[in-house]
């Protein structure tokens, strides 16, 4: 994207007033999307974003500036702005000669989406719409969206690192409204992988449409969710959101360093039921949060965070790792070149258990079974977290019975982790997600086998 001599010069300019570390991050992103709503192809959108973010670290201070002007002059101006922000120290480091490094992509992309005719993308939308509407007259509205993106990045820093990645992602989403005597209900399904158009060799969008419609139809008969504390069985796959919120964020080293995590100073201690082994794995081929290198140029890693209930390690970015004199764990990510990197999750999952999921349900006299989760939120300092149930059922006498309406569940991370008393043998990864932190969204994956929490608070309205 940019000549090595220009990168060298930019790094030198960034450090001319001093500083311990400088970095140039270049991004060129092309995206295309198509939206079907209300039975019409409403629009196709094409987008192009390109620019560079330059940071200079000097002691405790980071100076950051970005520019959409990738000429040598544009980069120089941004480097000066970033360098001026970092306080002038004594001399500063010299830029080490750049040496190019490559990291293996977690998967091969076979069909670049940009090579596919737009008409074929539109066809997928119509297929999903027809399939969803074929589920019956109660399906009153359907939205389907297709999106692909190609993000080429380059990272060069004053340690001499020069590396890059070509990240392709494709996703598809269907959402339905069903209308009945009790009002309207919604159902959704989404797929997404760091793959090209071959995604649609793996998935049938008609089936996706039918499944989304079925979820909405099922909920038409849903009764109000119960309220209060009770046993909750979380379904395989998307149930991983529970861990993303209950402990994932709390294991991010930047939050730990600021005492904003209930998991601070707990390395080596038991923080979860012995059933729990939690892994964050950016190398997981084909999963939504996978990449060859993070947005600081570090190769993705598989990091075990909790082993058999014992806290093993936090997740690290370059800045936090340097302060602790250790290596980054490959978790430094940013939304775009306009953002500073910080510690982020990739694909976060609980490793498989040994119990037949049917036995977990049969062994639960009463409670709630959550089969589809809808995102969540955590206060890492208190550990209190919520997550939504977008499809859930009552468990009565060890059987899954009636569907219940949507709502949030609330719990406290450390307490909930200890209260996991059954883990299924049906591990699966869930749907693609977007994780938000400090105003930045990045793609993440999560996964889990079926599991049971002995006590969680269900936020319904029924007694």
């Amino acid at each position: 994207m940019i000549e090595e001599s220009v990168l060298n010069q930019t790094l030198s300019t960034a450090l001319r007033n001093g500083g311990d570390f400088a970095e140039v991050f270049v991004e060129d992103r092309k995206s295309s999307s198509a939206l079907l709503d209300d039975g019409k192809i409403e629009e196709l959108t094409s987008g192009r974003d390109r620019g560079a973010g330059i940071r200079v670290v000097s002691g405790e201070t980071t100076g950051f500036a970005h520019t959409a002007d990738l000429s040598a002059d544009g980069l120089r101006q941004a480097a000066e702005a970033a360098g001026a922000a970092a306080r002038s120290g004594s001399g500063g480091v010299n830029v080490v000669a750049l040496s190019r490094q490559t990291s293996k992509a977690p998967q091969d992309v076979k069909i670049l989406p940009e090579t596919i005719a737009k008409g074929r993308k539109v066809e997928l939308l119509n297929t999903a719409d027809e399939a969803a509407r074929s589920m019956g007259g109660a399906i009153s509205q359907v939205t389907a969206s297709y999106a692909d993106g190609r993000r080429q990045i380059l990272v060069a820093n004053s340690d001499g690192l020069l590396t890059g990645d070509d990240q392709v992602k494709t996703r598809f989403f269907v959402s339905c409204v069903a209308s009945g005597d009790t009002g309207m209900q919604t159902g959704r399904e989404s797929i997404g992988r760091p793959l090209g158009f071959e995604l649609f060799d793996q998935y049938d969008v008609a089936e996706l449409g039918r499944n989304a419609a079925q979820r909405a139809l099922t909920k038409l008969g849903a009764r109000p969710a119960p309220s209060g504390s009770m046993p909750v069985v979380i379904g395989k796959g998307g149930g991983g959101v529970l861990f993303h919120e209950a402990c994932g964020h709390g294991l991010e080293a930047d939050l730990v360093a600021k005492s904003a995590s209930v998991f601070k100073d707990r390395i080596g201690e038991q923080v979860a039921s012995p059933l729990v082994t939690l892994i964050d794995d950016g190398t997981m081929g084909g999963e939504w949060g996978a990449y060859a290198i993070d947005d600081e140029g570090r190769p993705a890693q598989s990091n075990t965070l909790i082993k058999d209930g014992i806290l093993v390690d936090y997740m690290w970015d370059e800045l936090r790792a340097r302060k602790e004199g250790r290596a980054s764990s490959g978790n430094g990510r940013r939304q775009t070149y306009m953002h500073l990197p910080m510690v982020r999750m990739t694909n976060t999952y609980i490793s498989n258990g040994a119990t037949d999921p049917a036995d977990i349900i049969a062994d639960t006299p009463s409670g709630v079974f959550v089969s589809q989760l809808g995102g969540g939120q955590v206060n890492t300092a208190t550990g209190d977290f919520v997550f939504g149930m977008t499809e859930a059922y009552l468990i009565e006498d060890g059987k899954i019975t009636e569907p219940i309406r949507e709502g949030n569940l609330i719990g406290n991370g450390p307490e909930v982790l200890m209260a996991i008393d059954a883990l299924g043998n049906d591990f699966e990864m869930g749907s693609p997600g977007t994780c938000g932190k400090d105003g930045q969204g990045v793609p993440v994956g999560d996964g889990t086998p079926t599991l049971r929490v002995t006590k969680l608070t269900v936020g319904g309205t029924a007694a």
Binding site: D38, S46, A85, Q141, Q377, T382, N412, V458
Partner: protein, 462 residues
């Protein structure tokens, strides 16, 4: 918490706005016979200072530009955008938008906005002081904020972040249907997120202050709010499950109103996704509820002179004395609904116009929060909610969020409460409002806050 400020399009002057207009004019000039073309061009600059433990943690200076092109040809719509104003990129983007239009479904009602005779009124949303505010002063404000937090209360163990942020945004909308507007606005805020601890218990709180001029920012108030929010929750316990009367703090009411505003979008009505479709003229809320979207009110930090399609904004009374009065519309949804645009098109340069309310407020009542509380025997003051994106469904109306707050017993505030949910439905909550507070507070979000008393909400805890 994320504070956002919307960019406005209005009748302002200035050389860089002129440059944006020139770019947009050139794009429109490329329109082919029979084509409608719209160009939105935006230029933004922003500074953010974050301090931690007396040091500058990060200093970010950003400048960004971008544009979006919408093309309607043969009753089909296409769109493309780019995050730069490079000459080569402009031609490529127009071509993409044009090509994208050929794949859209033909729809006779598609069309750009057209001038509706309403003049755009200068609301004075740009303040020169932001552009000339020195970096040293920005850094000092962030440092002073952290100092004020740390000096306030021995239970405060730190501030996770203390930020100063300012921004200037310029935007133009030009179409070949007669729209040509330009405008700019400025904004600044300080914000802090603090940690309080006592024994084993840790709690958090945030505080902020917003102004178009950095001189308007109230550091002491931001610090005091954050400290108060965090310290008053120390020792919080989980309540029992019961149905009680809830008082929403202004910040929570604002979040609730934003969701209600979304259900009153003409687009949701047309597409069968609004709870309130077919209910114009019906009683949908307590008679105390009059909900207004008024982007011309300069007290709102989200005030806007023109909407995302370049029409002059106006005061829209959505619900009046509990009766559903109107829906928000953009040019397309209005045409399809047989009405006129309410100048409620919302968008950035990277998207086509949607429909939304940007400056909602309830007509306030007379009494302060402590007077409202004095009349409640058993209830909860909710000071914060979590999971609005995961537990609230604006189509079905199901409402369930995580919450924290304080017990109300016999008219007085009591012990702190945490780790519970509050649940009802949007429809029922509007009808269950028993009093609207007089404490209106303008916030950096699409709705103003005030205290709101709602009966019969399910609290789910132990």
């Amino acid at each position: 918490m994320t504070v956002t400020s919307t960019s406005s399009a209005a009748s302002a002057n200035g050389s860089s706005v002129d440059h944006l207009l020139a770019v947009a004019d050139r794009i429109i000039g490329e329109a082919l016979p029979g084509e409608q073309v719209e160009a939105v061009v935006v230029n933004e600059s922003e500074t953010e200072v974050r301090v931690y433990e007396g040091e500058i943690e990060s200093f970010t200076s950003s400048k960004s530009q971008g544009f979006g092109i919408r093309v309607i040809a043969d009753h089909r719509q296409g769109f493309a955008y780019a995050g730069s104003l490079d000459e080569g990129v402009i031609a490529e983007t127009l071509q993409e938008a044009r090509d994208n239009a050929t794949f859209g479904t033909a729809d006779d009602q598609l069309g750009m906005a057209e001038p509706d005779g309403r003049p755009i009124i200068d609301l004075g949303l740009f303040n020169e002081a932001v552009a000339s505010f020195p970096n040293e002063a920005k850094i000092k404000m962030a440092l002073d904020l952290e100092k004020a937090v740390l000096a306030s209360d021995s239970r405060i163990i730190g501030a996770e972040s203390s930020d100063f942020n300012d921004s200037v945004s310029e935007a133009v909308v030009v179409t070949n249907t007669g729209i040509r507007v330009a405008g700019r606005d400025s904004g600044s805020y300080v914000m802090t997120s603090v940690l309080a601890a006592e024994g084993d218990d840790t709690q958090t709180g945030f505080g902020f202050s917003v102004g178009r001029d950095p001189a308007d920012l109230d550091i002491e108030r931001a610090a005091a709010d954050a400290v108060d929010r965090a310290t008053r929750l120390l020792g919080a316990s989980k309540p029992a499950t019961e149905r009680v009367t809830i008082v929403f703090d202004p910040f929570v009411t604002a979040q609730f109103l934003s969701i209600i505003g979304g259900t009153l979008s003409g687009e949701r009505v047309l597409k069968g996704r609004s709870l309130f479709a077919d209910r114009l003229g019906d009683t949908v809320a307590s008679s105390m509820i009059t909900l207004i979207d008024d982007p011309t009110n300069v007290k709102a930090f989200t005030a806007n002179e023109a909407d995302g399609e370049g029409l002059a904004t106006r005061r829209n009374v959505l619900i009046e004395d509990g009766q559903l009065n109107m829906f928000a519309q953009n040019a397309y949804t209005a045409r399809r609904s047989g009405t006129t645009s309410t100048a409620s098109a919302v968008r950035g340069y990277s998207s086509t116009p949607g429909v939304g309310s940007v400056a909602l407020s309830l007509v306030p009542g007379d009494r302060a929060q402590d007077e409202l509380i004095a009349g409640i025997d058993n209830g909860i003051l909710v000071q914060g909610v979590a999971g609005l994106h995961s537990g609230v469904n604006p189509v079905s109306g199901d409402f369930s969020t995580g919450a924290e707050g304080l017990r109300i017993t016999n008219g007085a505030l009591g012990e702190p409460l945490r780790e519970f949910t509050i649940a009802s439905t949007l429809q029922k909550m509007l009808l269950d409002v028993v009093e609207v507070g007089g404490d209106i507070e303008w916030l950096p979000m699409s709705a103003a806050g005030l205290s709101l008393v709602v009966n019969d909400v399910t609290v789910s805890g132990d």
